[in-house]
């Protein structure tokens, strides 16, 4: 197992204020006073920086506890809204915004339930957070596909789109297994990876079948 990624001292105290579940040794009242008095810009910037750090961790996956310890659902929400807006189409064959939204969240819930039932010691929201963040490579693939779709379509372009989506799909699955890997017992990893694979497969299928 790879080493845990350690941030600098400065980052540690910043991160611990915003999202950490247990903070041993820090009094509650101090926390509330110090974050209530600061200007709104500081709060927003701190949260944005946290979200950005998590995206970075997904795009360069190493085994790290950042996503698990300081979970938040902003990243998944941003990704979900972005993808649903891009995938929405006016013709009847295209999915609606609501459809993509529901598939995303219900899919994350089902995969999380499965992981918990298989005996994983991970909380519900941590798992939804990780699954949501790991859709980021697929969102990148979707943007690339959308750019490619501007040109006139040929078979070669379709193959290029297909390859990009496959790459995004493989990257997403690999990233999520890097984070959820040590939650399960060694030999049962396949059991919890398979539904994640199916979930990302369905999302990739939505992306690749989006033709205008």
């Amino acid at each position: 197992m790879a080493d845990v990624d350690f941030h600098s001292k400065q980052d540690d105290s910043d991160l611990s204020l915003e999202g950490e579940i247990t903070v041993p040794g820090v009094a509650k009242s101090d926390d509330e006073l110090s974050t209530l008095d600061e200007p709104v810009k500081d709060t927003v910037m701190r949260d944005l920086r946290a979200i950005g750090t998590k995206f970075f961790h997904v795009l360069y996956p190493k085994t790290s506890k950042t996503l698990l310890k300081e979970w938040d659902l902003w990243g998944p929400l941003i990704l979900c809204v972005y993808m649903a807006m891009m995938l929405q189409g006016n013709t009847s064959g295209q999915p609606e915004f609501a459809e993509v939204f529901v598939i995303y969240w219900i899919g994350a819930v089902i995969v999380t339930l499965n992981t918990k039932l298989l005996g994983g010691n991970i909380s519900f929201f941590q798992s939804v957070c990780v699954l949501g963040y790991c859709v980021c490579p697929l969102a990148v693939a979707l943007s690339v596909c959308r750019i490619i779709l501007i040109a006139n379509q040929t078979t070669a372009l379709f193959v290029v789109r297909f390859l990009f989506v496959i790459a995004g799909f493989a990257w997403s699955t690999f990233a999520s297994t890097a984070f959820l890997g040590d939650v399960q017992a060694r030999n049962r990893k396949v059991l919890s990876v398979y539904p994640i694979f199916l979930f990302y497969f369905i999302i990739s299928w939505l992306i690749i079948s989006h033709t205008h």
Binding site: G19, T22, N114, F124, R188, L191, L198, F201
Partner: protein, 381 residues
């Protein structure tokens, strides 16, 4: 995200306990609310004792207060009952033992769902497991989605995803329920979870058949599908039949249950194939002819040609003309032998005319169309 206090306690519980984290959190909240409410309840009881000593002018007040107290008592009791019911039925830990499998076991059970085991006097073992069947159903849903997209399945109400989900889960629960009821009546000793598990694993054969059907497009007929339907569907049905056979004693009863399982299983596969597979045929037909005609123009021209060409009249006329042309050259008896040959050839040529014309470009088709409108039959040619 900055304010964590109401969630911190519950999150503590989440990370520390292995099990039902969602439930702990909600129970926490309910307990907190209950504590608040029970304080109010006690105050209400104390107040009730006092007004009984006052005179009738405050009878209205008394009635109001009694009403309030009774209302609160009812609320208390029903909330406690609801909490107890939730903690018994909503606890996902009930399902935990049915997910306790190793990957090797799942693999083995998937493969054995296609291999019927000869029934002996000993009861065949059916494992109560829900992971395998659930994964098989999700894979089936993904395959259906894939098929629906390729075949341009239009859904009026709801969505593609919703339809696929609904169909698969309704079949799984519905068929299992029916089989369970019938087994109970017929005295087959098998539990509901075992039936769910059995039917779930048998859907693996459906996944295989649908996957083969999507990947291998056969043109015009469904022979490949029927063969795989009979072979693979038949194998999994036989497996289920053998399990039921080994678990029942009466001959007629066994047959009834086996017949029900076979009918449900095989007809579900037929439904899945034919409901979502229509346009794949047309695509493969077009690819075979290597030309994609403009569909509407093709139909119209075919119809016009058929109307214009009256085979009964035209072919004998043509035959007579050709025979008259060759009469000076060819002797009579050869001519008599040749007559049917000429007849057939002319029929074929005239019948081929539409498809031959299809191979010309659309513009030429249009021109031919116009020509046919003016000249009524091919006699003019």
């Amino acid at each position: 995200m900055a304010d964590q206090s109401p969630w911190q306690e519950s999150s503590n519980k989440m990370t520390s306990s292995q099990g039902s984290a969602i439930l702990d959190m909600q129970l926490e909240e309910m307990e907190m609310m209950e504590d608040d409410a029970s304080d109010n309840g006690e105050n209400g009881f104390n107040e009730k004792a006092m007004p009984q000593k006052e005179d009738n002018g405050s009878a209205e007040d008394m009635r109001k207060r009694i009403g309030q107290n009774v209302g609160e008592m009812v609320w208390q009791v029903s909330k406690q009952r609801a909490q107890k019911a939730w903690s018994v039925y909503g606890n996902i830990d009930i399902l935990r033992p049915y997910f306790d499998v190793e990957p090797k076991e799942v693999q083995k059970r998937l493969i054995y769902s296609l291999i019927p085991q000869r029934p002996t006097t000993q009861r065949q073992r059916v494992h109560k497991e829900l992971y395998g069947p659930l994964m098989v159903i999700f894979t089936l849903i993904a395959l259906l989605l894939f098929q629906m997209k390729t075949s341009d399945h239009k859904v009026e109400e709801g969505t593609l995803m919703g339809t696929a989900f609904g169909v698969c889960f309704i079949y799984w629960f519905g068929a299992s329920g029916l089989v369970w009821v019938l087994s109970y009546i017929c005295g087959v000793r098998i539990a509901m979870l075992q039936i769910l598990s059995l039917i779930g694993y048998a859907l693996f054969s459906h996944c295989i058949v649908l996957f083969l059907g999507t990947v291998i497009h056969t043109s015009h007929d469904h022979m490949l599908f029927y063969v795989t339907w009979a072979v693979i569907g038949g194998l999994s049905t036989a497996k289920m039949a053998c399990v039921v056979f080994s678990r029942a004693s009466g001959k007629t009863e066994r047959i009834i249950v086996i017949a029900l399982i076979a009918v449900l299983h095989l007809s579900f596969l037929l439904y899945l194939h034919f409901a979502y597979h229509s346009v794949v045929e047309e695509i493969s037909m077009v690819l075979d002819s290597k030309v994609i005609p403009p569909p509407i123009a093709h139909e119209q021209i075919n119809q016009k040609l058929e109307r214009a060409v009256d085979y009964e009249k035209v072919v004998p006329d043509f035959t007579k003309k050709v025979v008259n042309m060759v009469k000076p050259i060819i002797p009579n008896d050869t001519l008599n032998k040749l007559r049917p040959v000429i007849n057939d050839t002319l029929k074929n040529v005239i019948r081929q005319a539409p498809t031959m014309m299809n191979k010309i470009s659309g513009h030429a088709l249009h021109m031919v169309n116009k020509t046919l409108e003016h000249s009524e039959t091919l006699k003019v040619m």
